[in-house]
Amino acid sequence: MTTATARPIRAIPRSWIALGVLALALLALPLVLRSDSRLNIAILVLVYAALAQAWNILGGFAGQISLGNAAFFGIGAYTSTVLLSRWEVTPWLGMLAGALVAAIFAVIIGYPVFRLGGHYFAIATIALAEIVYTIFNDWEWVGGATGMLIPFARDIETGRPTNSLYYLQFNLGKAPYFYIALALVVLVTVVTVIVDRSKLGYYLRAIKNDQDAARALGVHVLRYKLIAIAISAAFSAVIGTFYAQYLLYIDPETTMRLELSVLIALVAILGGVGTVAGPLVGAAVLIPAAELTRQQLGGSGNAIDLILYGALIVLISIFQPNGLMGLVQRLRHRGGPRPTATPTEQQATAREEAPMLGGYEEERG
């Protein structure tokens, strides 16, 4: 896993060979992993990679730090599940419906909330997500705090749980889930690359660096922020549907809590915000580490995993605020023509790597 993801980092972005090798390695991964628990971690990596990538469009490119993206994820999970369990609608349609509902919701809340900046925006997203959580937690029609079970797709003849593409449910092995999750990651990443290279990407970065300057230059700030949050919400919801179908059970606690919102942002930050590869790298490093520590140490609820996780976050924030992609870029710079950079030069490169910093200082001024 780590070798597969470490390889393209050195060679990106233009090396198609490395990309091909990575694709093959990923396609072959379910054959290599073989055990369900390891495949489960791989699927979780993909789920979080996709969620962090979706977060990145809003938080990384546009610089609007959302700590409420779990609400979009949960809305996606609930929309498809309600449609499926009440009206037998296939989760594939439910997925689209969830994306639509989440995008509409995002635009409606975006209108007012985007008037806020910095910490105010982050706290407003927390408040909104908590409202959504509270509502679902007490809404009996969608199962309240106990959540909703998705019934097994059963073989008509034997009555045993079976695979069903129509019901997006695979009870005979996790490999199909892996490939669908992989396809979702590819989809979100392709959209991110398109955004990155399109006018929209430039507008979003301009908004992040200096919103007032962008507005003065004629960028319709609110419109592009709304587009960013709608894309972010729609993909988060799509992954929510997938996650619901993967676990076949959802409740507000696991799909809508602040912890999930934070983890999504954290994956992107660890990898490197505002870069295409960052969220993918972050997920590939953080999720297996978190899952394995939980399995090895925290199984009895003694919270050692939480202690390590918290300490790790603090250390990253202090020593590597630009994420792993920042580290990679720094190493590459070090290998270049100027092996030793003066402190000011290092600061200058750090600033290029994280346009956030520039924008932040201006905000402080």
């Binding site: 730090i65 706290i123 007490d138 390590l308 918290g310 202090i318 630009n322």
Partner: protein, 294 residues
């Protein structure tokens, strides 16, 4: 509508609102100084409550007696947090600042769960709970003595803090740094010492709040989460960096939370959702909060 019921709710709201205000004032003070939000604030509160709990179990001291110890301990925690973490990230991107304190919060919560288990703890027979049987009856409105004492102590602490920052030389220096750091430095004020002082005061305030809450609120490693969420709302509602704003917003949140089930028939499980909605409505009209300078 039952008037007694409404009066009861309003009084409860004011009492808990005072505690909210005290928890929030530390946050707002720190933000006013250095534009950093302490996302571990809830865990500071949690540790203060545990400090009071262990003082009662191990040293046989009532939370009211161990209060100075709790306050001192939390002030020290604030200082250590500033020196160890915050001083390193003063010029870091906002994301790094958010997540540094967030990580600290997770760390402290994990530590508490590891050391003291996730079980609920309550302090046996606190003094405040025994005065006149723990409740007083004011014309049909029943008030818990611990809650009244908590509100009074919170008020005293709040007043002391306000007098300190508005009437003493050090307090004025603190305000000067909050107003304009570089000019204050030109006047010979060491801004780093003032930042450290901000964290010490923030820790001390949350220490008082934790000690008074411990007499009547069950203690768990996750107890800080809800209080912290409310404190962020209070701080944003009152205006980041505004001390009077924290008081007004704290009381407002307490009143809305307790009165909304009676006034508007909101189910009590939704009372926090109403508070969050109130915050959203206010910041939409005044993005800088009630008393914010922006």
């Amino acid at each position: 509508m039952d008037t007694t019921l409404l009066l009861q709710a309003l009084t409860n709201g004011l009492l808990i609102g005072m505690v909210y205000a005290l928890i929030s004032v530390g946050l707002t003070l720190i933000f006013g100084l250095m534009e950093i939000v302490n996302f571990a604030h809830g865990e500071f509160l949690m540790l203060a409550m545990y400090a009071a709990f262990w003082a009662s179990v191990l040293l046989n001291l009532d939370p009211m007696v161990s209060l100075p110890l709790t306050v001192g301990g939390l002030a020290l925690l604030g200082l250590v947090t500033y020196r160890g973490i915050i001083a390193q990230i003063l010029n870091a991107p906002m994301l790094a600042q958010i997540f540094a304190t967030f990580g600290l919060g997770l760390f402290l919560r994990g530590l508490a769960q590891y050391l003291w288990s996730p079980n609920f703890r309550t302090i046996e027979r606190p003094w405040l709970g025994q005065i006149s049987g723990g409740t007083v009856n004011l014309g049909g409105v029943f008030l818990g003595v611990p809650q009244i004492a908590a509100a009074i102590l919170a008020g005293v602490a709040f007043a002391a803090l306000y007098l300190f920052i508005s009437r003493t030389r050090i307090g004025l220096a603190l305000q000067a740094v909050a107003e304009d750091k570089s000019t204050a430095e030109l006047m010979g004020i060491d801004s780093h010492r003032m930042f450290a002082l901000g964290w010490v005061l923030g820790g001390a305030c949350v220490g008082v709040a934790g000690a008074v809450l411990a007499s009547f609120y069950p203690i768990t490693p996750t107890v800080g989460i809800l209080f912290a969420l409310i404190a962020y709302i209070v701080v944003a509602l009152g205006g980041f960096g505004s001390v009077p704003g924290a008081l007004v917003a704290g009381l407002l949140v307490g009143l809305v939370q307790e009165a909304s089930p009676i006034l508007f028939g909101v189910p009590t499980t939704y009372k926090y959702a109403v508070v969050f909605a109130l915050y959203l409505v206010v910041v939409l009209i005044r993005p800088q909060g009630l008393f914010g300078r922006f």
